[in-house]
């Protein structure tokens, strides 16, 4: 009896809790606070935060592996997050399903009306590769223990696209997944704070006031054919990006074709919501103290911020250049939307544009580079998976 009482005491969190776990629970609570109170990408950061709290409860066994006897019968079941992580994240299934849902939510109309804006989505990916160099420098200098695969996975934070970052990290640097996902979603939420100063620094008031011509009408046929064209081009030129872009285009085709509305609706709602809940819990499971409480996490967070800033700057500078050579005026602010972070970055461009000229509505013009950024970072992800993994 006393023994049992003692056992029960030994089972408590108070007895077992290690310092690192306590810190990580606080980190989880901080993410929850940011999600709820500050509105930081709550759809992801709330489940990630809860996942971080749960996985760090000592003795709760959320990441326990199941135990089987020799005959294959289960002796003790695994933990919830074990099944989620290994079933949905390690396999890449969850990010791909989410990408399909995002595709079903995406309107390529503004981009099709002005295909040149794809260049802005390309330029903004410079943030990704500049960050790779940063990580490689830290690794080569011996300051942090980053391999090329780690550097590539860190760089993708600059793609400002959560599912892409999780997909790449799960393949190239699973041990860094937690920190990378947290950095990606946090900075995506911080876009309204990070981008405007950079945008203002690199543009003049006149440039920010440039009004763009109204976008032409895009036909239904164009919207239907476009995802098919992208899929074929990816198949021909970068198969390693095909999982991400193939599912993205599949979702978009379901949206635009008009004959499978019930599938498109489910992909945009029930399915993506279910997977988002589990993706968050699964990502949170990687926020263990061993994986998170180290100098590398600091490096990841700093490099992620650098990536975002460079990507924003590259997009703006590219837009300035294009404006010089273009027959129709291009407001450089829309270049910043090239980092993706849909639709936040486009809204930021719109807002900064309105500051300069109260009649200047850039939202739809910025949606072009914005969705181009999603394609751009998926292409960058494909190159990385091919270069590093191949």
């Amino acid at each position: 009896m006393e023994q049992k009482l003692l056992n029960l005491y030994h089972d408590t969190g108070i007895y077992q809790l290690e310092f690192g776990q306590a810190i990580m629970i606080v980190v989880g609570l901080l993410l929850i606070f940011l999600a709820i109170k500050k509105g930081f990408e709550p759809l992801l950061l709330l489940p990630i935060g809860i996942g971080a709290v749960l996985v760090n409860i000592p003795g709760a066994g959320f990441m326990a592996a199941p135990v089987y006897d020799a005959a294959g019968h289960m002796v003790s079941p695994g933990g919830l997050q074990y099944y989620i992580y290994h079933g949905g994240i390690e396999t890449g299934l969850f990010p791909l399903i989410i990408f399909m849902g995002v595709g079903a939510m995406t309107d390529f109309g503004p981009m099709l009306a002005n295909p040149k804006t794809l260049l802005l989505g390309a330029a903004a990916q410079f943030g990704i590769f500049a960050t790779v160099i940063g990580a490689v420098l830290l690794g080569a200098a011996g300051i942090m223990d980053f391999t090329l695969a780690d550097a590539a996975a860190i760089g993708i934070i600059g793609g400002a696209d959560g599912p892409t970052a999780i997909f790449v990290a799960s393949r190239l640097a699973p041990e860094l997944l937690g920190a990378i996902a947290v950095a990606a979603y946090s900075y995506m939420a911080l876009v309204p704070l990070i981008q405007p100063p950079i945008m203002r620094a690199l543009t003049t008031h006149e440039e920010r006031s440039i009004k763009m011509e109204q976008l032409r009408h895009v036909t239904k046929a164009e919207k239907i054919i476009f995802p098919i064209v992208v899929t074929i081009l990816v198949a021909m030129f970068l198969p390693s990006a095909a999982p991400l872009l193939g599912m993205f285009c599949f979702g978009n085709l379901m949206r635009e074709c008009g004959v499978v509305d019930r599938l498109s609706d489910t992909a945009q709602n029930a399915l993506i919501n279910i997977v988002t809940i589990f993706l968050g819990l699964g990502v949170g499971s990687k926020l263990s103290s061993e994986a998170f409480l180290n100098i590398e996490t600091l490096g990841i967070l700093s490099l992620g911020l650098v990536a975002f800033s460079i990507g924003t700057a590259a997009g703006v500078l590219m837009a300035k250049t294009m404006n010089k050579f273009s027959s129709t005026p291009i407001n450089p602010l829309i270049g910043a939307a090239g980092v993706s972070a849909v639709p936040m970055a486009a809204r930021v461009a719109n807002k900064v544009g309105l500051e300069a000229n109260k009649q200047n509505f850039l939202l739809m013009h910025a949606m072009g580079p914005n969705v181009a950024g999603v394609i751009g970072s998926a292409v960058a992800a494909g190159v990385m998976l091919s270069y590093v993994g191949g």
């Binding site: 794809l118 390309a122 500049a130 490689v136 960058a380 270069y387």
Partner: protein
């Protein structure tokens, strides 16, 4: 410069090169696609669509317009019934 760094620069060059190449290819393909479609399969009746540059978020207005006609039809019918009593 050690191996890791040269690999990093290689990745950067290849990566940015590929991203630009691919997205330029996409510009060309998209432009060509749009031209083909609009020449050979022009949209039956372009009608007066709502201007795309409107500053409101597409999602909310779309859903509003999706529910309105149904409700509006029901209302119109109800009002007529009501009048004819």
């Amino acid at each position: 410069m050690n191996n890791l760094m040269s690999d990093g620069f290689g990745l950067m060059l290849l990566g940015m090169g590929f991203v630009f190449t691919f997205l330029c290819l996409l510009i060309v393909s998209t432009t060509y696609m749009s031209k083909l479609i609009n020449r050979y399969f022009p949209e039956a009746a372009p009608v007066a669509k709502k201007p795309m540059a409107a500053p409101t978020a597409g999602a909310s207005s779309a859903s509003a317009s999706a529910t309105d006609p149904k409700i509006a039809a029901a209302i119109t019918a109800a009002i007529h019934q009501h009048r004819n009593r």
